[in-house]
């Protein structure tokens, strides 16, 4: 079951930027692309846990600020020769507000 949580306004994130949401399982990075789509993934690079929210966002991907791995925001998969994946979370925008599906985040923390 989904549990949509209103976390912020779309305007609170700069286009081609990201901000983090704190959860009991660590930070989740919420991205806004140049064309106003939003994505939520764990804020830890599969390589050495670099904070992906601080990377450069291009198209539908982010480049990790530590060693330039490129992570696809939609699938969480590392691109190119690198291998690895981060968790992705359901997220959507409704009437200018960002809604994050807390079901998995909260359920996992309760477990």
């Amino acid at each position: 079951m989904s549990n949509w949580i209103d976390i912020a306004a779309l305007e609170d994130i700069p286009p081609r930027g990201a901000r983090v949401v704190k959860t009991r399982l660590g930070c989740v990075a919420v991205f806004r692309t140049g064309d106003d789509r939003v994505f939520a993934i764990d804020d830890a690079c599969p390589h050495k846990k670099g904070p992906l929210s601080e990377g450069i966002v291009h198209g539908n991907a982010v480049t990790c600020p530590l060693h330039n791995w490129v992570i696809d925001l939609e699938t969480g998969m590392a691109q190119g020769a690198d291998e690895g994946r981060v968790n992705t979370y359901e997220i959507r925008v409704e009437q200018g507000r960002i809604l994050l599906d807390g079901a998995r985040l909260l359920a996992r923390s309760a477990a």
Binding site: R19, T23, K48, G55, I56, H58, G59, G102
Partner: protein, 814 residues
């Protein structure tokens, strides 16, 4: 007896609905039509040509008095409905009450007036109906009138173009980064802006309106950054709001618009609604095509046929004469999507198709929209395009067309475009030389001197050769700076300058980028080139910066940061040291390290502590040390003649002076300086980007040293007698480096490419050029010589940038 149908709003949607209704059954209802405007229905879309003076009001009337009379419509124009009484089933208007059996609400929408001081002054108008147009035309008639249009969307731009045609001086203030951001991507937005600017319309993006100024009438518009634009007329085109208050008061279900089901029925079975005032399936529409579909559905519903409104795909076009643009569908990128981009810089054409599973799902076109209909049709039918994929972008007429021209950039340049900056050689001169027989690089160099000095323009000269000679000349394979482009850094820098490209989308379009928004390699480089070339006009794009420069601190391997306050020339005071010690304790700094650049480095700071820590350091007078930037880092000094028995000059004082002049500047890579008080060289000046060694008779200035992965001693630039001469040389050298080096080349690498002789000639021998370099540096510093920490530590900055977006750690699990 026929039932009573009351319609509120005599606009485009209700007009079409009545036509459809009478066509099905002319006698089904006695219709009473209320309209707030003192006139019947007209083609609202055509208000822009009326405003521009291209059409008369009479030409855009869709339903005249005869039509209403022939169809037996009781017209109550100029009479707004003020209340719906659902219990009594009647509507209230100034003329009294009118009973209904069925009611249709078609009140459209109203211009949104942004909530700033002065938005109610006379002279501030919306753009919605003929009254607005007449109000605008009245002001436009005055000589030398100034108009400000707030909002760079469809409506705003149509208004701006029309008012310009009426002879007004027009400025468009747009909140977002590019025009029509909801319909266009940045590339197409850039082309549109260029076209409109070419017509003399002034366009300001990222413009935050703070207030509208004036006493009895509007006089000017003030932006948050302090810019003021004089205005006799302000057009509010920042959006529209569904006109739904009647429904709200009547207790109908209203979301963003009046809620309707697939048959156009509201939450009351006797009340229907259509047009811009409704919301169907969570969508509110603002263009007529879907509203006409609604009109058909409602006419059927009212006559007892089952019909359902299905959300259509909506395309958009701008009605500004001479501007061709088209957009439809979803044009965001995605892993499951692919894009085909076609750019023709010469003709200002941009086309982009977005594909998903071999089907077109989005189209953006600018400059040439002849094939728009074809693409739109394929999008609607969901045709599989895999067979024609390679040639798809060329449209239906194409079969067997030519490949993209890699030389399009130079081919598009006018003859007057300067190719070689050092020797002031234009494209035309080179082309002439080629026609006169200079058919290789060496000959061009000899005849025109193009590329004979620093050599940065070699790539472009070769491309001019190739585009002029065709197959006879083979260009060495281009080495693009990244996968997004085949152009080199040198080419990009020259073209930015000669074509006066002032934004990242502008460069991407004019130089034919293969991606729509670049990548982490080209965007930071382009951002730097913009800052260096257009310091006053270009606004730094934080999203194109690496993390350290965006956060003004060095990221460490565990995601914490290091903070290095500036110690001018390596000099500090007990107060500063105490402030640093206090901050270290307050924020539990695990490691304090003294750097090789004579600074104190506080390591292991948590991101969220950065602004508070900076504020503390700021209050002790400490500013950012820029230990994280591709910019001026440190000027290291020795204690010199103040204390040292060998000291010949005030090395510390000179170092501090240099640092105070240079700090805050952005450079292609980091820049470090040092000043030693005598040739014993305690400050290790001879392995810096620029080093000064003091001697009895003056100062030895040397440059292009390195002590990193490579170790290299500096090379002598000049020996001079006064501190001022040292400062001028240093500033001119760094400015030359800023203007001509590739992004991420340290000075020693750049000097190796362009040659020390050329550098000396520019900086030392040519006094006039030196002065010009210093002047340009100073212009740039008027913007960038400031403490970024002070700004980022401001309380209003903290929640937007530094705080978490949300904290779910306290949220209870279910």
């Amino acid at each position: 007896m026929a039932q009573k149908l009351v319609v509120i709003g005599a606009g485009m949607a209700s007009g079409r609905m009545l036509e459809e209704l009478f066509a099905i059954d002319a006698g089904a209802y006695d219709v009473t039509l209320f309209g707030a405007e003192p006139r019947g229905n007209y083609n609202r879309i055509m208000l822009s040509p009326v405003l521009a003076g291209e059409k008369e009001y009479g030409e855009i009337i869709t339903h005249d008095a005869d039509w209403y009379r022939d169809n037996g419509v009781d017209c109550r124009f100029g009479e707004p409905v003020v209340k719906i009484d659902r219990k009594a089933k009647q509507v209230v208007s100034p003329g009294g009450v009118t009973p209904y059996d069925k009611l249709v609400i078609a009140t459209g929408s109203a211009s949104f007036f942004i909530p700033v001081q002065g938005n109610d002054l006379p002279g501030v108008v919306g753009f919605r109906d003929l009254d607005d147009v007449e109000a605008m035309l009245k002001v436009a008639g005055k000589p030398d009138g100034q108009a400000v249009v707030i909002g760079g969307g469809l409506l705003g731009l149509e208004a701006a173009a029309a008012l310009k045609q009426q002879g007004m001086d027009v400025t468009v203030l747009h909140l977002m980064g590019h025009l029509m951001e909801r319909q266009l991507d940045p590339a197409a937005g850039y082309l549109l802006q260029k076209e409109l600017e070419g017509r003399g319309i002034n366009i300001v993006c990222k413009a935050h309106t703070q207030a509208i100024l004036g006493k009895e009438h509007v006089e000017a518009v003030l932006l948050e950054d302090g810019q003021v634009f004089g205005a006799d007329l302000v057009v509010m085109a920042a959006g529209i709001r569904p006109e739904s208050w009647l429904a709200v008061d009547a207790g109908l279900r209203v979301e963003r618009g009046i809620w309707v089901d697939d048959t156009m029925q509201t939450s009351d079975p006797d009340i229907y609604a259509l047009g811009e005032c409704v919301e169907h399936d969570e969508v509110v529409y603002g263009l007529v095509a879907p509203l006409f579909d609604m009109a058909k559905v409602l006419a059927k519903t009212l006559t007892g046929t089952v019909a359902e409104f299905k959300a259509p795909v909506v395309s958009c076009q701008l009605k500004v004469t001479g501007v061709d643009l088209f957009s439809v569908g979803d044009f965001s990128q995605g892993d499951d999507r692919e894009e085909i981009v076609f750019r023709d810089p010469g003709r200002g054409i941009y086309k982009r198709l977005i594909l998903k599973e071999d089907r077109i799902i989005g189209v953006v076109m600018y400059g040439d929209t002849t094939d728009a209909g074809w693409f739109f049709e394929m999008l609607k039918t969901g045709e599989d395009i895999s067979d024609i994929r390679d040639t798809l972008i060329y449209g239906p007429a194409f079969q067997g067309g030519e490949a993209l021209d890699p030389l399009a950039v130079v081919a598009a340049m006018p003859d007057s475009a300067e190719i070689c900056g050092c020797n002031g050689v234009c494209k035309g001169t080179i082309v002439q030389a080629i026609h006169d027989g200079a058919t290789d690089l060496g000959a061009i160099k000899a005849v025109t001197k193009a590329s004979a000095s620093c050599g940065n323009c070699t790539g472009l000269v070769e491309q001019v050769l190739a585009s002029t000679l065709g197959d006879e000349f083979q260009v060495p394979t281009p080495s693009g700076i990244c996968g997004c482009t085949d152009h080199s850094h040198e080419d990009i820098r020259r073209v930015i300058k000669s074509q006066a490209l002032k934004s990242i989308p502008a460069v991407m379009q004019e130089m034919g980028w293969k991606t729509s928004c670049g990548c982490h390699i080209c965007r930071p480089a382009l951002n730097y080139y913009m800052i260096a070339e257009w310091p006053l006009e270009y606004a730094d794009d934080l999203q194109s910066r690496f993390v350290n420069e965006r956060n003004h601190a060095n990221i460490q391997k565990d995601g914490t940061y290091s903070v290095v306050p500036r110690m001018w020339g390596g000099i500090t005071t007990p107060q500063e040291l105490r402030a640093i010690a206090d901050a270290a304790e307050k924020y539990n700094v695990p490691t304090i390290h003294v750097t090789g650049g004579q600074r104190i480095d506080l390591l292991g700071i948590r991101r969220e502590d950065l602004p508070a820590m900076w504020a503390d350091l700021n209050s002790a007078g400490l500013v950012s040390g820029h230990a994280y930037s591709k910019g001026l880092r440190t000027v290291k000094t020795c204690v010199g003649s103040d204390h040292c028995r060998f000291g010949t000059q005030d090395s510390t004082g000179l170092g501090i002076k240099l640092e105070k002049i240079l700090w805050g500047s952005w450079t292609p890579h980091k820049v470090k300086l040092a000043v030693s008080g005598c040739p014993r060289n305690c400050a290790e000046a001879t392995c810096k980007d620029l080093g000064v060694i003091c001697v009895d008779s003056g100062y030895q200035v040397s440059v292009a040293g390195a002590a990193g992965m490579e170790l290299k001693e500096t090379e002598a630039l000049a020996t001079v007698a006064t501190e001022q001469e040292v400062i001028d040389l240093a500033v001119a050298f760094i400015q030359l480096y800023r203007e001509s080096a590739n992004y991420l080349d340290r000075p020693y690498k750049w000097v190796a490419k362009v040659g020390m002789d050329w550098v000396k000639q520019q900086v030392v021998e040519d006094a006039q050029n030196r002065a010009a370099l210093c002047e340009r540096f100073e212009i740039s510093q008027s913007v960038y010589r400031k403490d970024p920490w002070a700004e980022q530590a401001k309380p209003e900055y903290r929640p937007r940038k530094w705080a978490a977006l949300a904290d779910l750690t306290l949220e209870a699990a279910e």
